[in-house]
Symmetry: C3
Subunit: 348 residues, 3 copies
């Protein structure tokens, strides 16, 4: 499926998870998410092993979820814990796949690969920006009909901003003055975008004196498989970052399958942090730029690519593509490693 | 296509068939159904052999159906009987496949397999319950986006009723007291469901004193490929069936193709047989339980199965699955026999 | 794809082409059409070679089209002429496929095959009928969900008219009196349809004394791949064509791909040539006969054929099919020649 399985992916935002089960497809796996009555976030395969009914149409009973078709109950680790029929004997094979979860800073993450590897890999930690009482936080999500690497390409090269977001995120003159750098460290890729001495970009216009130029930056850190952090901000020309208006964003990509992506974003700002109206407007503006500008372009590109293997299409590459191409190579390497490990386990 | 062809399948209910042609796809075959001016029910291939126009868009002229594209006319046995063009010569090859039909008790049945075998196999006979002047009859139909064997699984194991139909067909306590038995005789499978000394189920509640318990039964007889009869009823505890309220149902499954099923049902009751309002309410209740409770579940299960070969999915089986699994094995055997016969004919 | 590539196909009607880019898929190729500020009609591949963005969502700047994603600009021959980023270096490989075009008599034609062969093949010339100041012209277009040869079959055999168009294009008695002839000369096929001494057909009824019979003719000339001309008219019985009411039509079929067809038609008449209301009514009537009578039938036939290879279905053929079968054989021969040439080039 051309997807990396050993990784933490966003399953759902915490405030959307309750004892009412929610269906969610991740990496092609149909899953049910629910919170036990004791508050634990649970992710299980949604397919009952008896007659393949969708568990998410069932009911949470204590820490169990009850199948809506014949009433088998499964516990939070996926084992069948109750059979209402006949002699109530529980068939030993009656269990559904359990996915490890971590809940932190308002996000429920699920581990989609080998469960033995989950503990050794910490889930992303955004406590510095998104922790309780920190910066003012807004969030949103939407779906893209494209392989998630196509969204990754979009994010890791912000030279598209003056063309795709001329009235929302970028100014026209930034195309000439953009300074782009990237670096790779292990499997982490950084893409740095600076525009010195430029006009204030639209999203900060309401919060600065737009008659004075500023320095603009947008720095991205990507960690595989689908976690991007974007520090975007404007400062006085030559000023310090911490004196400017800063927004720390997380762009979190969860492949629904190899042709669809759930895109979850969070944005924490360090300015007018106690104003709900500003939060509301910012939420709408960001969501709109993503869904009305990026999303249609990513989907159109995906249609024309027809494959997730960008390099097989022999694209004409520009210097700004360096970070995206690195990320794609890292993912390809991770997939190859996973495939080899799986093959080895099969032989052993 | 994983479908048994040598069998009688419901083509249409008699009262829907007239001289206005009706398109119907059965077992993947596009067909046209019509009644000749002399009243005979006709089932032909819908594809004109000339330019492959759909005959059902044409017109019945006497006992012929006229192609809407170039006007060739076919008689009730499928032979071209008139060519309006030029010298009016009828090409010998101009014929469409004819499907044997039997019309009985308000149902038009079509034989989808080897026509030579049709005469040796009587079509189902429901005269005892559905014949003119017998029990009060209502009927309905709908389509399910699933292989018909998935609907068969649903019908042959009624242990799902307390979970899927808790307010319509079953009572909650029946899950603990259900006595299930099955038997197979030749290619016929029976599934017996009894709940002794139980609360009156919702569909009988308006017709009995619900303060007194009853014995509930629901006995199914299945004959391949798609004919199920269900005797459901409530009696006094320890009482005789014929003194209780009884409903005799036919559940008739016609595969549209290997992923869709036309589901026709008839229900005859032995109580308040002359009350049109009761008939109307019962028709609505049954249709609602089927289309709003069973149908979504069968379709969801089919989506998760992804194949009509249940056993290839290694399901966890419970005792209640015995009848459904027998039916599946019988159908597999019938398909294997048909395939062998076809292969033999091809060699000969 | 079972389509002839070396041929002129309608890209767009002239009056719909401006400096606002238009997407158009032809023979499976996604294309962008636009007019340069100097008026030239341009047809390019719609896929930017950088990140595969759709150029038609971009902007025409002078004679260039600018990619909407990262701003690369391509000139009218498809070469990248400007890179707005960094050192502005234009990668040599940055070009999109250019399709030769010819604009004539209100039609923009595009050549979909080997560009070296375009110059040697003149685009169709309808100047005699459609040239400025000639007969009164109306036009229209629509899409058919079918391989274009299925539409071709429909056009080359007008014996379907009394059955499919009984109230619009044909009279019922024409079925008995139709005289049909065909001839082939090189790769051009003619199909002649005469009905002598017949009632005036509906489309001419408002323009003649319908109490008197007429001679009706409908002569078709087809040139591969998708150009049909239809001379339809009514004259006094035994009278000369030029004294009658004549309509010269072009039926121009452009495969969108192997399952969909863009159908463009033009109709020039020699009567009441200066009446806009007559033009409007005629436009509506022709468009309606095509989209409400022919189109559903062609689509239904295509569904039942399931292949573009008519003869593989062993159809029952009538004498009226001769012209259509000739056209299909010519197209098959042209495809075979193209395939052989391509294979030879690949080897060389």
């Amino acid at each position: 499926m051309n997807l990396v399985r050993n990784g933490w992916y966003v399953a759902i935002l915490s405030d959307r998870l309750s004892t009412t089960p929610v269906p969610q497809t991740m990496l092609g796996d149909p899953m049910v998410l629910y919170r036990t009555t004791s508050g634990e976030a649970v992710a299980l395969s949604d397919r009952c092993p008896h007659r393949f009914a969708p568990l998410h149409k069932g009911t949470v009973k204590g820490d169990h979820i009850e199948c809506p078709y014949h009433g088998l109950q499964f516990n939070a680790s996926g084992a069948c814990a109750f059979n209402p029929h006949g002699d109530h004997k529980v068939p030993q094979a009656a269990r559904v796949r359990h996915y490890p979860t971590v809940e932190r800073d308002g996000i429920v993450w699920a581990w989609m690969g080998d469960p033995e590897l989950a503990a050794a890999t910490p889930a992303p930690d955004f406590g510095e920006f998104f922790g309780a009482g920190r910066w003012a936080l807004v969030s949103g999500d939407f779906e893209i009909n494209a392989h998630y690497e196509t969204a990754l390409d979009n994010l890791l090269d912000l030279s598209h901003a003056p063309f795709l977001h001329p009235t929302t995120l970028a100014t026209a003159d930034s195309v000439n003055n953009l300074r782009f750098e990237m670096k790779q460290q292990g499997n982490t890729v950084w893409a740095y975008h600076y525009v010195p001495d430029t006009a204030v970009t639209p999203q900060f216009a309401a919060f600065r004196d737009t008659s004075r130029p500023c320095d603009f930056h947008a720095h991205i850190r990507w960690d595989p498989p689908g976690t991007l952090q974007l520090d975007v901000g404007v400062t006085d020309v030559g000023g310090r970052d911490e004196d400017g208006q800063l927004i720390h964003m997380a762009h979190l990509l969860t492949p629904i399958d190899s042709t669809r992506t759930r895109y979850t974003w969070l944005a924490a700002r360090n300015f007018v942090t106690d104003n709900a109206e500003v939060s509301k407007v910012m939420q709408q503006q960001v969501q709109m730029a993503f869904t009305e500008e990026d999303e249609p372009m990513i989907e159109a590109v995906w249609q024309y690519m027809g494959t997730s293997d960008l390099l097989s299409l022999a694209p004409v590459l520009l210097p700004g593509d360096a970070a995206g191409v690195r990320a794609r190579r890292i993912l390809a390497q991770l997939r190859a490693t996973e495939a080899a490990t799986t093959a080895q386990k099969t032989v052993a």
